[in-house]
Symmetry: C2
Subunit: 206 residues, 2 copies
Amino acid sequence: MARPGILIVLSGPSGTGKGTICKELLNNYPNINYSISATTRSPRAGEVNGVNYWFVSQAEFQEMIKNDALLEWAEVYGNYYGTPRRYVEELLANGKDIVLEIDTQGAMQVKNKFPEGVFIYIVPPSIDELATRINKRGSETPESIKRRLGSVRYELSSAYDYHYVVINDRVSEATAKIEAIISAEKSRVGRNADRIAAISKNGSID
Amino acid sequence: MARPGILIVLSGPSGTGKGTICKELLNNYPNINYSISATTRSPRAGEVNGVNYWFVSQAEFQEMIKNDALLEWAEVYGNYYGTPRRYVEELLANGKDIVLEIDTQGAMQVKNKFPEGVFIYIVPPSIDELATRINKRGSETPESIKRRLGSVRYELSSAYDYHYVVINDRVSEATAKIEAIISAEKSRVGRNADRIAAISKNGSID
């Protein structure tokens, strides 16, 4: 039987490159899967149910909340978004690792329901560097950049609610660090009690 | 300034290949150092003070015990062996990682004095495989092999006092897992509070 997979939760201030790291992880690491969110918003052109999102009705979403079927959820401009617990649990049971890229509020909901997850906070090498990156994107007004950078200090304090902090200086190095974290977590004693027991019984392990 | 290094403590039932893994780690990983033990036993031909051991007198060793200058120590057939705290702490402060290959009793002494260490328990893939390996060495009587295997079950239960368990099926894979553990531990939030604070202050980090 496959070893259970690991749920990896990535958060960090916006502009730190979480999305790029996620893509790198999915490219480099065949065993890792991206969690598909459920949402009540309408599919956009080209979006496919079960690929981009699970598209559900408001009533279905409310039912999921009521049945504790979501690891986390949030309402954004009247639409609901959430992480279906069953989909995640099935993949984990089949030995797949899953990465969730969500904000701190969502991450803390997951941590409550799934404390065996691995919580990683991505930070920029410096606030100056973050400012440079956001400026380069060119998609924001100076006002909104200023506001966003002002909140970064506050956001950074939530790093302490995570298990690991990874500085995204170079994407390849940050991704390698996350791969090392996943490997190390698979060796945690708490995740290997069954193996230790199996060896003690003189059975060989899988 | 260099980031502080990490103290890695390796234990496991004898015959699991801890020594081979240690050598591989020291070969592959230039930043890792082997801790040099202090001992009261006489140097053998070719042994050099500060290379193989720190050779000290009984009085000096007792003084070290009294001054809490040893991370762990034990008496074996009238000779004392121990790990000098200062040597370890100096290397760590200079950013070097250190590996200690010691038995469970010694490891638990270190854990008390140095809880920020990383404690890894190496296990064989199965007790059958361990028996095969010990038989291959050819250095033990069938009686002593039987006695040793009988105690392995008991020894394996101490795995739960460690942070990680690594199955030594292939040495190269086991060593890679330990390298991943070292890398991951360097990303632990508790080891990076100063960095998070530095980024918050808008200073860039080292």
